[in-house]
């Protein structure tokens, strides 16, 4: 998928002015955080589990080469095959080759963010293979030719009326005058339309929430059961996962699973957690004949060696975006690539480059809510600040901002000059704003005063007041 992150500011403005999007986000703003809070309330060990989850991921990342090799060994022993892919192009090529080996016509897909990252659907279509998204949200946005706007609820930006319009446009063999006002009826229609697609598919592609080194298994977590039909019915099951998804044992996965559902949807446990190991056994009555894993790096191994390593703990639960005041105001499409919200603002610059995604680390108030809800305690605000530092270091920030910051740096690192200048500013502004107590406009501060007043200073700086107080 081609990123449009460089257009964040325009995208965000458009999002804020879009009434349908705002109604949809209104539902998200209250729903997810409330459910998460209730689920955590019921599990007294949740905080301790967060520490354990962090420790498991840190241990695995520090020995990632070992666990990936062990994982591969066990996938192979179970009759599956691991395809190591450096980048999206290698991953697309590997999937296409597998599909062609059985002359596949249609491919069903469970939700996979890695497939989104690789732009897999476009590639399959260009090569004459029809990909069918089966997660309801993914199916809806596939019909609308839109990217996902949320990593676990891809169609969260839509209201049911838009879904109804998309269904009417796509399901033309159903009566045009059928009523489509109830959510339940729409779900039923999607089920009916997709069931034959499941049964007819030649290849099924799922994501992977966890890869288990001990057994060579992949784990997916879903609520709809689409991932299970996707991987059980076709002749071939392909798992697409990135390298940091591996964990040592099933016990480690159990701990992370306890964190995942509660953080994501506020469920105690998702409806379906499925552990898949290799293809069907010789005497099995169903299941795929082949099991392949697309193991994608796409820039992640580089993060192990820099200040962004902690980002690789991410479980992709979406709690950070559900709790982000910026995300719930502008929506996921504004971020312009696959991963929105705080986790996306850290990951996207790493994967598509800071030149493209430079706005994202700045699209945050650094309020810290994301870090406080992260199930594996990723210090997201700190990582966002690291990107801002790099922007300055690499001369990627706008010229005015760089000049302003270097001027600020010059003054702030010279205490005498700083106190003198701020003393003058406080007096001048205090005198000028004395009558109203606030400013409606100020030179050089239009960005602030355009939407709110600037409070006028009292006339003396904090340092002056502090010194006066200590003299007494």
């Amino acid at each position: 998928m081609e990123p449009t992150s460089h257009a964040f500011i325009a995208n965000a403005r458009a999002g804020l002015a879009n009434p349908t999007l705002q109604s949809a986000l209104g539902l998200a703003r209250t729903g997810f955080p409330l459910k998460r809070a209730q689920a955590i309330e019921r599990l007294p060990e949740f905080e301790a589990l967060r520490d354990e989850g962090k420790a498991i991921k840190d241990h695995t990342l520090a020995h990632l080469d070992y666990y990936l090799e062990l994982y591969e060994k066990n996938v192979t022993a179970a009759g599956g095959r691991v395809h190591w892919c450096r980048d999206a192009a290698e991953a697309r090529a590997a999937v296409l080759e597998i599909c062609r080996s059985v002359d596949a016509k249609t491919v069903t897909k469970g939700k996979s963010m890695i497939a989104e990252e690789c732009g897999l659907n476009e590639h399959l279509e260009a090569n004459g293979i029809t990909p069918v998204e089966t997660d309801l949200g993914e199916y809806i946005i596939q019909l609308r030719h839109e990217p996902p706007s949320h990593i676990i609820a891809p169609a969260i930006h839509l209201m049911k009326e838009q879904v109804a319009d998309s269904f009417r446009a796509a399901h033309t063999d159903l009566p045009a005058d059928r009523p489509l006002t109830e959510v339940q009826v729409m779900c039923e229609e999607a089920r009916t339309v997709l069931r034959p697609r499941f049964l007819a598919a030649d290849v099924g592609i799922t994501g992977g929430n966890f890869l288990i080194a001990e057994t060579g298994s992949s784990i997916i977590v879903t609520n709809e059961g689409n991932g299970d039909l996707t991987q059980t019915l076709p002749r071939i099951h392909i798992v697409m996962a990135s390298i940091e998804k591996v964990v040592p044992t099933l016990e480690d996965a159990a701990t992370l699973l306890r964190l995942l559902a509660r953080s994501a949807t506020g469920q105690e446990f998702s409806s379906y957690t499925t552990v898949s190991t290799g293809p069907r056994r010789a005497d099995d009555l169903d299941g795929p004949e082949q099991y392949h894993v697309i193991l994608l790096d796409n820039g992640r191994s580089k993060l192990l060696g820099n200040e962004f390593r902690e980002m690789l703990r991410c479980l992709k639960c979406a709690a950070c975006m559900n709790h982000c005041p910026v995300y719930v105001a502008v929506g996921g499409h504004a971020y312009g690539w696959v991963y929105p919200g705080p986790m996306g603002s850290v990951l996207t610059p790493a994967l598509v480059g800071l030149a493209e995604a430079g706005h994202l680390p700045n699209a945050s108030t650094l309020c810290g809510r994301c870090e406080s809800v992260c199930p594996v305690k990723i210090p997201l605000p700190k990582l966002l600040r690291h990107w801002r530092e790099r922007q300055i270091a690499e001369n990627l920030a706008p010229k005015a901002m760089r000049r302003g910051l270097s001027l600020w740096g010059y003054v702030a690192s010279r205490p005498v000059l700083y106190h003198r200048l701020t003393g003058i500013a406080a007096r001048v502004l205090g005198w000028a704003g004395n009558r109203r107590g606030r400013f409606r406009s100020l030179p050089l501060a239009g960005g602030w005063t355009q939407v709110r007043d600037m409070p006028a200073p009292e006339g003396r700086t904090f340092h002056e007041l502090w010194a006066a107080r200590n003299k007494r």
């Binding site: 080469d65 309801l136 969260i156 779900c187 446990f269 379906y272 552990v275 169903d286 580089k302 192990l304």
Partner: protein, 224 residues
């Protein structure tokens, strides 16, 4: 694609600032994996005695719209299945896992029930399966695939009935892993199932029966 494999492993080691791990460290890691050491397991179910654990399983399962019916002995299962199908207005017809453990559940007392022993097809309405274990902590069923327990039974039919013996109810997922490891061979699929299929993808309104079963019914034998 061994070029890619070497490049990725090389890049990982470069990032970690070291070469391949020394044999000593590798042995320690192998030991960590083999130990199957448990992390923190919540007290919720672990601290309970057997009967209370069965009760917890039932209440957690019912919370996520799994219906639970208790019977006192295995021979009562067929009668409960017939009752459930009639109450739900479903045909007295089902596809059942070939597992011999399901043979003696009183089927001869319900000759009107039409039963096929096989995997599921796209138009099967009702399935009946055993489970490997059931996890009290979250009301979760644990099913494994095998020659006698095909996975399609768990997902294709609209209604899925699962027979659970009280002694199969364990406290935690970790207890479930132990039971799976105790089997002869590791299965292709382990399904943890917590309630019927659902989606909240349109306006976050939860609807049951997205792609998998609309109804999940547990027939629970014994009381622990």
């Amino acid at each position: 694609m061994s070029g890619a494999r070497d490049a990725i492993l090389g890049s990982i080691r470069g990032g970690l600032g070291r070469g391949a791990l020394p044999a000593e460290t590798q042995a320690e890691l192998a030991e960590r994996v083999a130990a199957h050491r448990r992390n923190l397991v919540p007290a919720r179910a672990v601290s309970l005695d057997r009967a209370a654990r069965v009760d917890l399983f039932q209440s957690m399962a019912e919370e996520v719209q799994t219906s639970v019916a208790r019977v006192s002995s295995p021979e009562d299962v067929a009668a409960e299945v017939a009752r459930y199908l009639a109450a739900e207005n479903l045909p007295a017809e089902l596809v059942m896992a070939p597992d011999p453990g399901l043979d003696d559940l009183g089927w001869e007392s319900r000759p009107m029930l039409r039963i096929r022993r096989d995997k599921a097809e796209g138009d099967d309405a009702v399935s009946l399966t055993p489970c490997l274990a059931a996890v009290a902590e979250t009301g979760t069923l644990m099913l494994v695939s095998g020659a006698d327990t095909p996975t399609t039974l768990n997902f294709l039919p609209d209604t899925h009935i699962v027979v659970v013996r009280a002694d199969q109810i364990v406290a935690s997922y970790e207890d479930g892993w132990d039971r799976a490891r105790a089997r002869e061979a590791w299965p292709r699929t382990v399904n943890f199932i917590t309630g019927p299929s659902r989606t909240g993808d349109i306006e976050q309104r939860i609807q049951l029966g997205a792609h998998g079963p609309r109804r999940l019914h547990v027939v629970l034998i014994g009381d622990g």
